[in-house]
Amino acid sequence: MSEHHPVPDAIKHLPWPEQYQALARHTKAPVLKHFYEAGCPSPQTPVSEVPMVALDFETTGLDAEAHSIVSIGLVPFTLDAIQLDQAKHWVVRPRLPLHQTSVTFHGITHADIDEAPDLSEVLEDVFASLNGRIPVVHFRNIERRFLNVALQWRLGEGIRFPVIDTMAIEAHLHPDRHPSFLKSLMGKKSLSIRLADSRTRYGLPHYAAHNALIDAIATAELLQAQILHHFSPQTPVGDLWV
């Protein structure tokens, strides 16, 4: 796997809206051109006015270089509403064999995958929901990295975009989540910033199933709660994305 068409550093250091414009000119693959052309809101835009899309991948493992995407769930949303009629879910065939451990976790079986398309076959549909929206994820190291690697494999080009990371927001809100040595001796546990545990702190319900779509919805709900609890609808989106 190699980068056939590297992005110059000068572009990488541009603010996101200008970077999208530059990337739109620089990129070759039409699907990415369209993505960048759809644009990125200015960092000053109040988060309540920003169209977002909660994105979640199930993968065969945690290493983007060694593992593959098995399913994609997404739901477009705004601070005001998560629109289930636009919720999407795809199962895709991984490049590498499935490990039994990941099967038990996300419930996608070999049989499901044997019939599934390659990611390249659903890319257009996936991007139809991403274009013009700021992706929202829980733990940015999965979705952004896996998508970047997967596109380099298939298109010969990676992808760059800002994300709002609900886990990073939780981490920021709870800098002292790991108790001191003394306190941990007294039985105090670390505060978890995993998706399900974070949600509990906002009174959000527990979802029994684990799939990319329900996790995407769970992430969108978590962001609504975080913003209304700790920020405000007027918070500039640039303060939230990373």
């Binding site: 906002y202 959000l204 199933a209 609890h229």
Partner: protein
């Protein structure tokens, strides 16, 4: 639906009304949901705002308020709110506020209406599950009419102009001219102890003093109206309007205890509500012949439609229409007397049925009778009364009140009789009741004297109230008749339809709704010895006796109001569409809101009939 949304779907189907919903509908519903997180204390719905969603509480809790700010309900996980706004005018009826941080599923209006149309259970649930909603729907609607929310004191703009009862005619006229008032309140006693004893108006001065050429030195007490009709300061404007309509007076002293707060004139209300039915009433008295009356009778329907559009309640509309009908009758009697000369013996002209009950609408025939003084000698006097009865009856027919098909009119010699004969009629009906005979004379048990010696009618009312409550057999026969007409509700709460003249599948809101209700209310009221004639007033009398528990009375009141108002609206719509109004309604012409509330109201009628059957142990007879 994406299979991955199963978690969301599974939560819905654990709760009513989604638990029995066909899978396909739940899937459609799930896909349409918009999820929204709200913090505790957030105002979710504001009164009057356009409603776009029904809400389902996925987690958290929400408080629902009345418009007055009073807490109405608390909604928790798996419960819904906001459906009322979608059912009624698409405006928020009940403000909602998050009590806790809550995750809400918003169900868009389109989906809501689709479910309402396609799932009977859902429709019933969002409408009927909580009966008190019928009541709140009704009271909400009434609140929007200013006549029903503003106090009569609001119309008092000037100091009361009064004079002692012994003031001379000329002096009274001078005071009225100087002060520019159309009525002068006459007081008995002085200072602190002064009490209003009567009132004289412009009209009194004209009709009584001037036409009869009374000397200007005559004390006003000689022409003053006796039995002063007043209204309490706490009354609403519409009550003042009803009082004027019912008693045909144009001035009402407003009393706060013994103290006079002011005088409200017809003109004040007419100004307040520029084209009120009161205006029409006053116009009736200005007409000099049948032709003139016929001409303004065309305004009756406009007046009716306007009241409907102004969200008046059925009591108000029924009373106003009865008041208008009464005024036509009274004016015709005045004109008849002018033409035929003064009556040879005193008499009372009596309204029967819906006019007597103050429950008249626009589709109505005339039901009336004459009670003559006992000195009546048929050979000498009857020609006069027949001519008068005929003049009135023909005049009413000209004005749109069709002849009674059952011939219950003063033109029928049987119903133009001296008081003693009327006493015998009623005594016989009550003491020797036969169901068949009562079926035809039912209408006489709603009676009201509207002209002449009204005390004759009062005497008959008292006789009925006294005898009926003691005659179990009479009440049983009446109950049997009252059970003949059943509400149009089949098994599983479906409407039972009949074919109307136009070969359409309809049900008759009068025959199957308001009539059976007023029938059964009449019986309970007679059993209580009540003198009331209006169904709502009768319910009040019944309430004092504890014959029926308060909850059931409330339901009866709501059911009567709701069926009446649907019937009224149906007629108003027909009039506006240029069609002849009737009582036959096709279910598909009703809004979903009306359909499901009607079923609820009919259920109340049906239960009340069961109670009546049980109480009077009557056999079921069905000869509709």
């Amino acid at each position: 639906m994406q299979a991955e949304l199963i978690d969301i779907r599974n939560h819905l189907v654990q709760h009513s009304p989604f638990d029995d919903m066909p899978e396909e509908l739940v899937n459609q519903l799930t896909t349409s949901i918009e999820i929204s997180y709200v913090r505790a204390g957030t105002q979710i719905l504001e009164a009057g705002q356009a409603s776009a969603y029904m809400y389902y509480v996925r987690s958290g809790a929400v408080e629902i308020f009345r418009r007055s700010g009073e807490l109405y309900n608390r909604i928790g996980e798996g419960e819904i709110f906001g459906q009322f706004g979608l059912l009624m005018h698409r405006k928020v009826r009940f403000p909602a506020k998050a009590l806790e941080d809550s995750l809400l599923y918003r169900i868009p209006a389109d989906t809501f209406h689709y479910l309402f149309e396609n799932d009977e259970n859902f429709a019933d649930f969002v409408e009927i599950e909580d009966r008190s909603r019928l009541r709140s729907a009704l009271s909400r609607r009434e609140k929007s009419n200013e006549l029903m929310t503003s106090r009569v004191t609001r119309l008092i703009s000037r100091k009361t102009i009064s004079a002692p009862t012994n003031v001379r005619l000329q002096e009274a006229a001078r005071i009225m001219t100087d002060k520019g008032v159309s009525a002068l309140l006459l007081m008995d006693g002085e200072g602190e102890n002064a009490r209003p004893a009567g009132i004289i108006t412009d009209r009194d001065l004209r009709t009584r003093a001037v036409t009869e050429a009374l000397p200007s030195e005559t004390p006003v007490s000689e022409i003053m109206s006796e039995g002063l009709i007043t209204i309490r300061a706490s009354s609403y404007i519409f009550e003042a309007m009803l009082t004027m309509l019912h008693n045909n007076v144009h001035h009402l002293p407003v009393m706060d205890g013994h103290e006079v707060r002011g005088v409200v004139a017809l003109a004040d209300i007419v100004k307040y509500e520029s084209q009120s039915s009161l205006y029409l009433v006053s116009n009736i008295y200005h007409q000099q012949n049948v032709k003139g009356l016929k001409k303004i009778s065309r305004d009756v329907r406009d007046s009716f439609v306007r009241m409907v559009n102004e969200d008046a309640n059925s009591h108000m509309i029924g009373s106003a229409m009865a008041g208008i009908g009464r005024s036509f009758t009274q004016r015709l009697l005045e004109l008849g007397e002018e033409k035929l000369g003064p009556p040879p013996v005193p008499y009372c002209f009596m309204a029967l049925g819906s006019m007597a009950r103050d429950e008249q609408l626009v589709v109505t025939d005339q039901d009336n009778a004459m009670i003559l003084d006992d000195r009546f000698v048929p050979e000498e006097h009857d020609a006069y009364f027949l001519a008068l009865a005929k003049f009135v009856s023909d005049g009413l027919a000209e004005c749109g009140y069709t002849y009674c098909t059952g011939d219950i009119m003063a033109t029928n010699p049987k119903w133009r009789q001296p008081l003693k004969v009327w006493r015998n009629y009623f005594t016989d009906w009550i003491e020797n009741p036969k169901a068949e005979a009562l079926l035809n004379s039912n209408i006489f048990f709603d009676l009201d004297g509207i002209y002449g010696r009204t005390e004759f009618a009062e005497e008959l009312k008292a006789l009925v109230a006294d005898k009926a409550s003691n005659s179990q057999r009479f009440l049983t026969m009446m109950a049997r008749n009252a059970l003949n007409r059943t509400p149009p509700l089949g098994f599983f709460r479906t409407f039972v339809l009949e074919e109307d003249g136009k070969h359409q599948k309809t049900f008759n809101l009068k025959r199957r709704g308001t009539a059976p209700l007023s029938d059964l209310i009449r019986i309970h009221s007679l059993a209580c010895g009540s003198l009331a004639q209006n169904s709502f007033e009768r319910l009040k009398s019944i309430s004092k006796t504890k014959l029926i528990i308060e909850d059931d009375l409330g339901n009866l009141r709501d059911a009567l109001e709701f069926i009446s108002i649907v019937r009224i609206r149906h007629q108003a719509l027909s009039i506006e569409a240029g069609e002849e109004p009737d009582n036959n309604v096709r279910p598909e012409d009703l809004s979903p809101f009306e359909r499901s509330h009607l079923k609820d109201a009919f259920q109340v009628v049906s239960n009340a009939q069961k109670f009546l059957r049980f109480r009077y142990n009557t056999q079921v007879t069905r000869n509709v």
